[in-house]
């Protein structure tokens, strides 16, 4: 039994779960900032991203050391690779939260449209849920649960399309349209967070089965934009 290797893998996985929990806090923060149009909270979310980045860099460093010193193979190697990929997805989710927070700040001087804000909050809630599901599925090596993320992502995509349609209605109101355009970009960021959660689900499937397969193909991605 390689006690040292197992201890390092356990630490790595704990670090990944922690990074995931931290990014869920970012998502929650940005949802609240949207709901209340709170510019200060936006700044806090932006600053908080340093925490996410720090966790990612720590994981990257740990992965480098485990690979160099322990040369893991088979399921151990898959675990290290899956954590490295998944941690990068988590780090990107953090970046999306920063973009949403910045967009919210930028459009704060313009009047908000309740229907769109509600749509964005709905997307954010669904994303936070997806991230939690992706982390649990990873921890439990639960491929069925990981695959379920694809279904959840479709709901996020649907909400994204609704936001888009709503903003199209502002075409005769210049100020509302400017605000709306920024919200479309924010919605796109949530949509990406959902995709990243699906990506983590794909890493879980790789970890368990040894085969990497995307849960959706490119044509699905096209449909999600329609």
């Amino acid at each position: 039994m390689r006690v040292e290797l197992q201890a390092e893998l356990d630490a790595l996985e704990a670090g990944f779960q922690e990074a995931g929990e931290i990014v869920v806090r970012s998502i929650r923060g940005v949802i609240d900032a949207l709901r209340t149009q709170d510019v200060e909270l936006c700044d806090e979310v932006i600053a908080f991203d340093d925490e996410v980045d720090e966790r990612y860099r720590a994981i990257e460093k740990q992965v480098e050391l485990v690979l160099a010193r322990q040369t893991p193979v088979a399921s151990d190697l898959r675990l290290v690779l899956a954590i490295l990929h998944s941690a990068l997805h988590v780090e990107r989710m953090g970046d999306q939260c920063v973009t949403i927070a910045k967009l919210t700040k930028l459009s704060s001087h313009l009047g908000t449209q309740q229907a769109v804000v509600e749509g964005l909050v709905d997307m954010g809630e669904r994303c936070a849920e997806m991230v939690k599901v992706s982390l649990t599925a990873f921890a439990n090596r639960d491929v069925a649960q990981a695959r379920g993320l694809h279904g959840l992502d479709e709901l996020v995509d649907r909400a994204n399309r609704q936001v888009f349609s709503e903003v199209l209605g502002y075409v005769h109101d210049a100020e509302a349209l400017e605000w709306g355009m920024r919200q479309i970009t924010a919605a796109r960021c949530f949509e990406r967070i959902g995709d990243n959660a699906v990506d983590i689900g794909e890493q879980t499937a790789f970890l368990v089965t040894g085969e990497f397969a995307e849960f959706t193909d490119a044509s699905d991605d096209l449909r999600s934009l329609e």
């Binding site: 039994m1 040369t71 893991p72 193979v73 088979a74 190697l77 040894g210 085969e211």
Partner: protein, 287 residues
């Protein structure tokens, strides 16, 4: 301005060298050995039981497993080295290019010429570098220039440049890594078809080990190589196919015998082995 010449890269070869062959590529090659239901016993004690596998031409096949799993016993079946051990009994069949290696009319000496062997510890003769390599061809009365044969074997073993100016000096003056490559040259000089290597780098430093491993990649273009190794990373680096052997202990603890657990493409064995015992061994969770 001088134009840099673009390096010519044979991507197919790079793929072969760095990733090994996949299973279908290996299996499409001619079968050199077909082993079926092979068991070996020493004075009635079963050392290895029920082994079945094929070894294909121009590939490197590695045998890995814990001590006592029978991998060295197994590699010795391929050139009838077990014949030399009193009380050893081999049952089942080993076909070499379709011919039964253990048939009465097969000459073990001829077998050992065509199936050369390199051992764990370099074992050069206490003679000159030249005589070590020339020994086999001389004894066999092989035709053609002896000098050319010696040079060619030393070149193939990547030793020529280091020894060409001191061929008459004693082989025991060479470093361990050089001695091992000399033993490989000695095996190559009699123009074998297969080279068996039993832990060929276990007594060598990392640089010499790398040389031997590079040599294996190079030699498999002309020869079929079978290697026993304790070093799993070495198997991962050099072998196209890997066989994992384990020890089966009788329920009452009275007997232990080696068995073949899993035989597959090396990449499969080290990324997604099918058998839990293989996974436990390659990841270091064995026992």
């Amino acid at each position: 301005m001088t134009q840099m010449e673009a390096p010519r890269i044979d991507s197919g070869r790079i793929a072969e060298v760095s990733h090994g062959l996949d299973r279908s590529e290996v299996e499409s090659r001619e079968r050199v050995f077909s082993v079926s239901d092979l068991s070996v016993a020493y004075s009635g004690n079963v050392a290895l039981e029920g082994v079945q596998l094929h070894v294909h031409k121009n590939t490197v096949t590695a045998f890995i497993g814990p001590s006592g799993c029978g991998k060295s016993t197994f590699i010795r079946c391929f050139n009838r080295m077990n014949d030399l051990i009193p009380g050893a009994k081999v049952t089942g069949s080993v076909l070499y290019h379709g011919e039964d290696l253990y048939s009465r009319d097969v000459d073990p000496v001829e077998i050992r010429r065509r199936i050369g062997m390199v051992f764990q510890k370099p074992n050069p003769f206490p003679k000159s570098i030249y005589d070590n390599v020339a020994f086999g061809p001389r004894v066999l009365g092989m035709k053609g220039s002896l000098d050319e044969r010696v040079e060619s074997a030393l070149r193939q073993a990547a030793l020529w440049d280091e020894v060409k100016d001191r061929l008459k000096e004693g082989a025991l003056g060479l470093s361990g890594g050089q001695q091992q490559r000399l033993c490989i040259a000695r095996a190559l000089a009699v123009e074998p078809d297969v080279i068996l290597m039993d832990e060929p780098a276990s007594a060598l430093d990392p640089i010499s080990t790398t040389r031997i491993e590079d040599l294996m990649h190079h030699l498999k273009r002309e020869y079929t190589i079978i290697i026993v190794t304790h070093n799993m990373q070495q198997a991962a680096r050099v072998a196209d196919m890997t066989a994992f052997f384990s020890v089966l202990v009788d329920e009452d603890g009275s007997g232990r015998r080696g068995i073949l657990v899993e035989y597959d493409a090396t990449t499969k064995i080290f990324t997604t082995p099918s058998d839990k015992r293989t996974e436990d061994y390659v990841t270091g969770r064995f026992g």
